[in-house]
Amino acid sequence: MADKMELRDVEVWDGNMAASQAMRQVQIDVVAAYPITPSTPIVENYGNYLANGYVDGEFVMVESEHAAMSGCIGASAAGGRVATATSSQGFALMVETLYQASGMRLPIVLNVVNRALAAPLNVNGDHSDMYLGRDSGWIQLDAYNPQQAYDLNFIAFRVAEDHEVRLPCMVHQDGFLTSHTAQGVKTLDDDTAYNFVGEFKPMNDMLDLDHPVTHGVQTEEDWHFEHKARQHNDLMTKVFPKIEAAFDAFEKLTGRRYNIVETYNTEGADAVVVCMGTSVETAIEVAKELRADGKKVGVIGIRVIRPWPHAQIAEALKGIKAIGALDRSSPNGTFGMLYNELAGTVVNSGESKVLTNYVYGLGGRDLTKVHLREIYAELLANAEAGKPTTPLQQLIGVRGPKISFH
């Protein structure tokens, strides 16, 4: 039996500590992991818990991120609670196995501390790795601060392991801005945290020796499509009700409310920015200040990236005239992911909206309040004009002459 850890009601934790504490509290059976900046402290903290008797599962320090997820897949198929953490290049190395984990319907939880992708090499936070995972068949939750990184881990285990879901889940947080920034985090005691997620219930487990099972078959053109269709269907129809229920239960337990799409000051707003990660918090601050000046602006934060909350976002955008999609990843030859996803969502809304795209913050470049004020000014002008008054895509906060497209 692992020892319980006494926690204060509010601990000063960075995002990595918050995620690792949640991992400890849910009593994971196997963690197979490999360190990489900026998620390394999650793995180090977990090793520390093990060394001090706070964890009684297996902790396998493998030789690469690919092996980390491979070990997680083997362990999860064997039948138990499994999680790991990674970032950036490590995430990229893992990509092959991400598809295998989701295709085999294994409820692994992966903490992704978002970081840019080389080249050029960069250790700081942007959303390139998070975007890379978006077609991998995983559920993706996004935390904007350490408290959320803690809370969303419990949601992740609860939803992923539900037998009607059985899909792996990523919990994202911004590298350094969240992972290494200590803030007050309201804690759950060990028993309450564990009970929220509950005991792991095995399904199709290899270690059930009386029911031999074959995992990881080959399907060619005669069967592949049906299996992919099933997985897509389950992502599209089964995940949101379970997330919603988990959010409700979590609110009942803690008083902290989460929503699939987070909205701030969107009531009666003319213009909103849609963004993710720590930028949501900066945008809220600016929107509040602008509201005080009588400007009708708001913020929409994406909490669940996959499955894409099409209906919830369409609802949140009702009546809004101008939208700025803020993408923290280089689109490399097209519009940003958020722009494209939002375009798909609003095009059939029956309302005329002006949608523009801002690419910002690559490789950890700051998104400042000044940037956001400029963005809001442009969006309000778009709302007023009923058409774009700027190029559709602009890169902001980059040196040299203004760079924009379309």
């Binding site: 030789e63 690919h66 491979s70 083997g74 198929a77 085999m104 270690l207 031999p212 990881g216």
Partner: protein, 318 residues
């Protein structure tokens, strides 16, 4: 510790109930399934199995059929070792936590991979598993070529073999590199037991598999798997070709205990010339042209040298 299955002779062995099934899609005459049968039939223990992508995997778990009567997992080309290591870690965790469904049973963890999956693309994963000391057995089905994808060279392909990526041609005798000495590499990991086996020598194989399964820690087995399709011989000759390989000492049978002590486990009564082995396979037929005689001579010299080395090491007893 479960009791070791008694296999005194072939008649007794033939009472085994196979846990590997027919109507798999392996080629007629494929040695892979002969090896898999000998490995699985060597024990009555519960088994948790894994396979890397390759002939064995694509031929035994094609939806909607499985040929496996024990739990089995495939993830990718490079990670069969880590798949079973992950399962073994889960077994240890659940045992400690008292959550095993059948707590009185002790399954064995075995991964299979081809030489491409083991010598090449999955090498790092195997190395990691062995360094960490998982309680598992890794079995290479060594057919010295990427057979599943149509016969490309691997680092196990022996010198002079013609493959689709290193074919023999007007100015080339085919593969230029010697076969990688995987057993030495795995012994250097400090593995408690590594061994080379061949399906034609079933008794030697069963003994080694039983020893390996009874050994605590990561065990490495390199099994020669004669490939009718890529070595280019008739399907009925799989055992005959295997006999030529072991009797010419091209594929010597030995074991290394604790990374140090080497035992030769098969000494042919009549050692046959290497060229008899090479001449029986289409992949080497160009070596019998006059301009390639030097390759044949080098082959024989190398096999003689390697045999001498194995004998000296065995004598040294260290």
């Amino acid at each position: 510790m479960s009791e070791m299955k008694k296999i005194k002779n072939l008649k007794e062995f033939s009472t085994s109930a196979d846990r590997f099934e027919g109507a798999n899609l392996l080629c007629p005459g494929c040695a892979h399934s002969i090896i898999v049968r000998e490995v699985l039939n060597a024990t009555n223990d519960d088994l948790i199995l894994a396979a890397s992508t390759g002939c064995l995997e694509v031929c035994t778990a094609v939806y909607p059929y499985t040929s496996w009567d024990a739990s089995w997992i495939h993830i990718g080309f490079e990670n069969g070792s880590t798949a079973v290591a992950g399962a073994e870690a889960m077994y240890k965790a659940l045992k400690r936590k008292g959550r095993l469904k059948q707590p009185d049973r002790e399954p064995k963890f075995v991964a299979f991979g081809g030489d491409g999956a083991s010598y090449d693309i999955g090498f790092q994963w195997i190395s990691g598993c062995f360094e960490r000391g998982h309680n598992m057995m890794y079995v290479v089905l060594d057919n010295e070529v990427y057979a599943n994808t149509g016969g490309q060279r691997s680092s196990s392909t022996p010198i002079g073999a013609s493959t689709t990526t290193a074919p023999a041609g007007r100015v080339s005798y085919g593969e230029k590199m010697n076969k990688k000495d995987m057993l030495a590499i795995m012994a250097a990991h400090g593995s408690p037991y590594v061994a080379q086996v061949a399906p034609n020598k079933w008794k030697d194989m069963v003994k080694k598999i039983q020893h390996g399964l009874a050994t605590e820690g990561p065990v490495f087995i390199n099994a020669m798997s004669a490939c009718t399709t890529e070595w280019k011989f008739l399907p009925e000759d799989t055992i005959a070709i295997s006999d030529l390989a072991t009797d010419s000492l091209v594929f010597p049978l030995y074991e290394i205990i604790d990374g140090r002590k080497l035992n030769i486990t098969y000494r042919p009564k009549n050692v046959i010339p290497v060229k008899d082995y090479l001449g029986a396979q289409g992949r080497f037929k160009h070596l019998f042209k006059p301009e390639n005689k030097h390759v044949l001579d080098e082959w024989q010299a190398r096999v003689d040298r390697d045999w001498e080395y194995l004998q000296r090491r065995e004598e040294a007893g260290v």
